[in-house]
């Protein structure tokens, strides 16, 4: 028997209307829609869930269910975001059960995984959600007990009237609370009153992960579901000419083989519509293995594609050049570009004059290859197209970005698109580009059945969207006293420039010039854990190391000196970093690593610091080199990301960033020959492995009361520079070209 309840559920939008110091008043506008409240089980002895708001359900037995709105790809927002709600709701974390929210812009105002903004954007918003629900419970209790709200207190999911000694669970009041109007003004706790925020909490999904529960998009299945793959051109710069599927269609389990076009010719491309190939052949069958085998029998004819134009949503046309590109040629082209004048991005003082008058100039050129994302769970999506509706179970970082493109391509209104957000086996930017959802929908529509689209590892590596190739040339000018008088950064890439003209050391040097250039390409690129920054940090932080050595200065002292200048008397008004916070992480890493201490004198160590995604990170790495083997003994990380919500998860992120960064710095590379990637799977794409990971990683956070800033990306870029600097100490050789391990043999 299903118990129904006529309570209105509350679909909410929260808007921060005004913020003031101390207690914060937050205005909320709520949207209500009638929806029967979910009930569990057959009989009424099971708890009855009351939807207090779209984020919070409370059961009669005082179980609390909190919905985590953001897509989860390992950054552990399923733990940290509900912690924000639970804090203000004033419940015991042990009572809380967390569920992934589905894509529902009415219920959840921000479902976005990218740019290290999850906690930062949710900081006030989700605490407001928790506080609102708590206030509704309080009001319900005050009405039931006929006592003024001001005399009631809450803790651990209980409402208490201290004077009379009355105390009841939230569950008792949940049904009444759910009927109440939602409070307009919300007061948030001061940081000093936090009971949950700032305490280490374990990943709430861990019990399911360790049992191998089907959490991922790849694991989704339902009755009648078919399996699909796509065959695509073997090289960038090629396209489909024709194909013969006669033999492939005769293979066991094959249902259909047909061509699909990801976007129409007149598609207006949005920023995240990138896909490697537009016309592909879909193979649909009864199992993954059947489809894999049939693919081998497919006879496709590919041809070199002509130059193409793509119209952007902004009305700007982009030209995609023709040709089969090669990494070797890209490197040569990048050196050519370096010789030509670039586009001036920033100019302070008179750099040309300073360089002309310099007693000494150091110039170094740094390069890095394309990198593949290598998300451990290959790209996939479940889709079922029925009539004019489509239902997805999708690993997708930013569903909001894809919905308009799906509306355009599939010709259905956005209300007809439903997306269940599957846990993602990694993302790192790759799953912000959801073309695979459109592919899956088109395939489902054609075969009129639910399908799961799967990319093989080879598909992912060889037909991906990559971290671009980059180059940066730095020049530093010195006077006769070895004083740094001018700095020049000139950077570009295939097909985008990594340059951040307003970042450190801009602002710290009187004469400064930043230039950029690009080389157009038909190789598709994407965000990749701190795009651009992950290369800039490697280049800039190695260069600063080298010039500090020339100047006879300690590398940390030298950086601090520059930052002090930027703090006291900044050059220019557009510097985008906070010099004090930058200095803070350098000072912390100096202390925690015992930098310069006699006991560490024999260590081969490198230091590096970088600012990105609103946060500051500094790292010291200790390593040893024997032949071409690098052994990393220790990494010490100092991070300033403001208030840390869940120190356990935050540490895990920072440790992972260090390991991932060391791996990519030493081994990461995707190279191309005549448009074809030379690496296609993990047997050729070198990933860092257990025996190459640091023996020890220490993570330290700067303690402050700053509202949270980014965490997932910031500790990734600096480690590249730290590795290069430590390798120099270990080998006496400077490392300018990634991947570094290649130059050890």
């Amino acid at each position: 028997m299903k118990k129904t309840d006529s309570n209105l559920s509350r679909r909410s939008f929260l808007k921060v209307s005004s913020l003031s110091g101390g207690g914060m008043m937050l205005g909320i506008s709520w949207f209500a829609s009638a929806k029967p409240v979910e009930s569990l089980g057959e009989l009424n002895i099971e708890p009855v869930w009351q939807e207090v708001t779209s984020f919070v359900k409370i059961a009669s037995d005082n179980s609390i269910k909190i919905f985590s709105p953001n897509p989860e790809f390992g950054q552990n927002v399923m733990t940290s975001l509900p912690m924000l709600i639970a804090e203000e709701l004033d419940v015991d974390w042990k009572q809380v059960e967390v569920e992934q929210g589905n894509y529902d812009p009415k219920a959840f105002p921000r479902q976005f995984t990218g740019g290290s903004q999850g906690i930062r954007m949710a900081w006030k918003q989700l605490r407001t959600v928790g506080s609102a629900a708590r206030q509704m419970i309080l009001t319900a209790a005050s009405q039931a007990w006929n006592l003024p709200v001001t005399e009631l207190t809450t803790a651990n999911g209980m409402v208490t009237h201290a004077f009379s000694g009355k105390s009841e669970t939230y569950g008792i009041f949940a049904a009444a609370a759910a009927k109440l109007p939602v409070p307009k003004d919300i007061v948030l706790k001061g940081n000093q009153s936090f009971r949950l925020i700032g305490t280490p909490q374990k990943n709430v999904v861990a019990p399911k992960i360790v049992q191998g529960k089907p959490l991922f998009g790849m694991d989704y299945r339902e009755a009648g579901m078919l399996y699909a793959m796509t065959e695509r051109p073997p090289a960038f710069g090629m396209q489909l000419k024709s194909f013969d599927a006669t033999a492939a269609k005769k293979m066991p389990g094959i249902v259909d083989i047909f061509q699909i076009k990801v976007y129409n010719d007149d598609h207006k491309f949005a920023g995240f519509d990138t896909r490697a190939f537009n016309e592909v052949i879909a193979i649909v069958g009864k199992s993954t293995w059947d489809v894999m085998n049939a693919r081998k029998k497919l006879k496709a004819v590919w041809e070199v594609a002509p130059e193409k134009k793509e119209m952007g949503q902004n009305g700007q046309e982009r030209t995609i050049p023709a040709g089969l590109e090669s990494t070797k040629k890209h490197y040569a082209q990048m050196l050519e570009m370096d010789k030509k004048p670039g586009k001036i991005e920033r100019r302070d003082g008179d750099p040309e004059k300073a360089f002309a008058e310099a007693k000494h100039v150091i110039e170094r050129t740094f390069t890095a290859p394309f990198l593949a994302h290598n998300i451990m769970e290959p790209t996939n999506t479940f889709a079922h197209f029925v009539g004019d509706k489509v239902r997805f179970v999708a690993p997708i970082q930013i569903p909001d970005f894809m919905v308009p493109s799906m509306v355009a391509r599939l010709g259905i209104p956005k209300e007809n698109i439903s997306i269940e957000l599957a846990r993602m086996g990694g993302g790192f930017g790759r799953r912000a580009y959801g073309h695979y959802m459109i592919e899956a929908a088109l395939i489902s529509k054609q075969v009129n059945a639910p399908i799961k689209l799967i990319y093989t590892r080879e598909d992912d590596v060889s037909g991906g969207t990559y971290r671009p190739m980059y180059q940066l040339t730095y020049r530093a000018a010195f006077d006769e006293n070895k004083k740094l008088i001018a700095f020049h950064a000139k950077g570009g890439g295939v097909p985008e420039s990594p340059l951040h003209a307003n970042r450190f050391p801009a602002g710290a040097i009187d004469n400064y010039l930043a230039e950029s250039w690009v080389i157009p390409s038909n190789i598709t690129i994407a965000a990749f854990r701190a795009p651009r920054s992950n290369f800039n940090a490697a280049a800039e932080q190695s260069f600063l190391d080298e010039i500090s050595e020339y100047m006879g200065k300690d590398p940390i002292a030298f950086r601090l000196e520059l930052l002090q200048r930027a703090k006291d008397n900044p050059v220019g008004k557009t510097n985008d970093y906070d010099a004090s916070r930058y200095m803070g992480v350098l000072e912390l890493v100096r202390e925690k690593s015992g930098w310069g201490k006699p006991e560490n004198a024999g260590k081969k160590r490198g230091v590096s610091a970088y600012f990105c995604h609103n946060s500051y990170a500094a790292q010291v790495i200790d390593l040893r080199v024997k032949g071409d083997q690098v052994t990393v003994d220790q990494v010490t990380t100092a991070l300033d990301c403001g208030v840390v919500v869940n120190p356990e998860g935050a540490k895990n992120m920072a440790e992972g960033a260090a390991i991932d960064g060391i791996g990519n710095a030493l081994f990461g590379q995707l190279t191309l020959t005549e448009g074809r990637t030379d690496q296609r799977n993990f047997d050729t794409y070198r990933m860092i492995r257990h025996n190459e990971a640091p023996k020890k990683i220490d993570v330290h956070f700067v303690k402050n009361e700053i509202d949270p800033t980014g965490l997932g990306e910031p500790p990734f870029p600096p480690i590249f520079g730290a590795v290069a600097n430590a390798l120099y100490k270990a080998t006496g050789k400077r490392f300018y070209q990634q991947p570094f391990a290649k130059q050890l043999s």
Binding site: V205, G212, M376, N652, I659, H690, A693
Partner: protein, 152 residues
């Protein structure tokens, strides 16, 4: 060629009809609906698909169904009844997982390691686990978890 096979997985005999070359990985995932065993590369290079074959860690993507007669397979679903194998408990205690996709394979490798070598050195762990990739970078936590499980 499609044939009938009987395979013993987690103490239970299953009858399946499959192509003789179909790897155990896809038998588990697509035919038997046991999706704890993950696909990562299909070429034996990532360890995501690790299961136990007669107690030894093997890559199920490299094991055709026709080669399984008379063997006993254990998958992550059969490692323990309630997710309370010492390795699973240690994984939770050390808060190892990030995305979690590689972790079934890591856990199956670790469990096999400890079965054959109950007190592994750091080097033993590193060497044994080298076949299991984690893009999220949880290696140091994995090592700590294995060391913790070894004390239980």
């Amino acid at each position: 060629m499609i044939k009938k096979y009987s395979v013993k997985i987690n103490q239970k005999v299953h009858q399946v009809e499959a192509d003789e070359n179909m790897p155990l990985l896809w038998v588990l995932r697509d035919i038997l609906g046991m999706e704890g065993t993950k696909y990562g590369c299909g070429v034996g290079s990532c360890g995501a698909c690790t299961v136990h074959l007669n107690g030894q860690a093997v890559r199920s993507c490299q094991l055709p169904i026709s080669a399984l007669a008379g063997t006993e397979i254990t998958t992550i679903e059969g490692l323990s009844a309630k997710g309370d194998h010492p390795v699973q408990k240690a994984w939770i205690a050390e808060d190892v997982a990030q995305c979690g996709y590689c972790q079934s394979g890591q856990i199956m490798s670790a469990a096999a390691l400890l079965k054959n070598n109950p007190n592994p050195t750091e080097e033993d762990i590193e060497n044994f686990m080298t076949g299991n990739i984690c893009r999220c970078g949880t290696y140091t936590r994995i090592k700590k978890a294995i060391q913790l499980a070894a004390t239980k």
